[in-house]
Symmetry: C2
């Protein structure tokens, strides 16, 4: 995989701002290259851009896109389209196959997505067959996809960097 991006659809500005921001930050922290958002939401853009500026890397966010156009463009360039959905097949079955693709687009819906997506996507994948969160689904999927290599990725251009709190209790 040379490029892994997220396409977030169905975002409702007032209701979903924080969840979509968390989706974007999780995407970045777990190794994706950027996120397309169908809705224009300057608050989400600001939050994510601010993190990228301070914490480094090249994660992009592009808003107001047409999901049809993005999917078509990715497909024309040989991109592989994965739709994250509770109704998909268990994701672990398909990680090896997905990892071989040079360009992977991961679609993350909010409440409801157009039914046609199930047919357009190359794969419909679920992360557990239980209801939880698009933030947890995406993070766990990316962690498996990158096989944990993303967990200690360094960002040379970061102005902010965590130094772990080391004073563990005596004896540890």
């Amino acid at each position: 995989m040379d490029r892994v991006c997220i396409l977030r659809i169905g975002h409702r500005p007032a209701r979903d701002a924080r969840i979509t921001t968390h989706v974007g930050l999780a995407a970045r922290a777990f190794g994706a290259d950027g996120m397309y958002l169908t809705t224009r939401d300057s608050g989400v853009v600001e939050s994510i851009t601010d993190v990228v500026r301070r914490w480094g890397g090249n994660f992009f966010i592009q808003v107001g896109v047409s999901w049809k156009k993005i999917i078509r463009e990715w497909k024309e360039e040989g991109g592989f389209v994965v739709h994250l959905t509770m109704y998909g097949r268990p994701f672990t079955e398909k990680m090896e196959e997905t990892r071989k693709k040079p360009k992977v687009l991961i679609i993350v819906g909010a409440e409801k997505v157009p039914g046609v997506l199930y047919g357009i996507a190359d794969l419909n994948l679920s992360v557990t067959a239980q209801p939880h969160s698009e933030v947890s689904s995406l993070a766990v999927l990316l962690d498996h996809l990158f096989e944990g290599r993303e967990l200690d990725r360094a960002y040379p251009d970061a102005t902010m960097k965590i130094t772990p709190w080391t004073s563990e209790r005596p004896g540890d």
Copy 2:
């Protein structure tokens, strides 16, 4: 591990309702037994109780708890306390150690947590050294802790159950 519970602190009802609900649902979906919430928030309780009723299992939610009391009780019963924080040590270093403990309490803070927690916790662990989401941190931590065994857990008492959408494109 016989018992893994979440202690969510610093929840602000209006602002954090959806995120805390996602934390609870992710906790359940990724194998935890229940969640304590320091703030009383009937909306969060309803959302989570509703999922448990329809989707099965025994995940509990208890609100209005004192975090000091919960931690003290867990420690008195030999519980192991893990604090999820961006400022912690990389979590992967400590999964083997944590897995050996019979009772594990995972503290998930909202924006800010009392500084004293860093000293009270047996371990302060981070999931990547980047800012993202308590939902993604918790899910990825639990997925590693349970080594993926939670991913296809069945709930015999569920009234709702997903049948994966199987009509993949011809040739797959």
